[in-house]
Amino acid sequence: MRSAQRTPSLFPLDPELLRDVSLVCLAGGIVGVSFGAIAVAGGLPVWVPVVMSLVVYAGSAQFSAVGVLLAGGGPVAAAATGLLLNTRTAAFSLAVAEHIGRGRLARLAGAHLVTDETVAFTLAQHDPARRRAAFWISGLGMFAVWNAGVLVGALAGSALGDTARYGLDAAFPAVLAALVLPALRKDADVRRAALPGAALALAVTPVVPAGVPVLLALAGLVLHGRGRRRSA
């Protein structure tokens, strides 16, 4: 099945996918530059944002943990905030596990690449080969560009200024909208779970710690499959 084929089928290189991933990498790289710059401007040594990005590799958790550290919130609060935000990656890793691959190295390396965006890219594809390609292309691309961006930002400082000026804070929810809305539109079962879940997350955001709202959204899953069973 391998090697005899002339066209490698392991990673179907879809130009459209490559283009979409590149765009998200570009946006991620710019946010990485701003993360590096904010951490160093706040008084942390250069190695902190750089090493943290390599070994933690989770944008929102990194921003929150560094924010707590810089605000004098203490190491326990910083670690707890970041971990709470990253709890969702456990659910994400279960959802994409079959697309990561079976080898030991693939499992160990692939696990580190599980992010909101890689999961959204992966699940937006329709067949297993494309899902696997989407996972690895977006995972490796974003890891490389995010870390390069953080290094540049940590060394070069805040030359970019406030990234809110470029509307980048709207770009990331927009990435999720582009990747998730087609599934939501097609699949009434998922819609029935996701919309009340999101409403619940919004409602509790003012009163619970960051990271908890999206976890509570999973309660929407009790509604998954309701309509189907009723009609069956």
Partner: protein, 104 residues
Amino acid sequence: MSATVAVVLVLAVGTYAFRLVGPALHGRVELPARVQELLSAGAVVLLVALLATGALTEGGGLAGWARPAGVLTAGALAWRGAPFAVVVLGAAATTAALRALGIT
């Protein structure tokens, strides 16, 4: 400084442990079809919740007008089947333009 090292280490180990749950269990534990189905639905539920909270809230409060307007534009474009780049750049451009006009 050792406290900062501890924060980075704890975050790194904890986050990796969360991420390893799926790949470590896959193929070793046979999950019923219904659970599999709920896992992929759960991922979409999480992504939609991240989309909603990321679009509308900031630090536990409302995110103002510019960002929600940008994401709403993205939502409308995505729903109508616009290409990915149009959706993402449309959101950033809308938000950036509103901010340039003084609407935050």
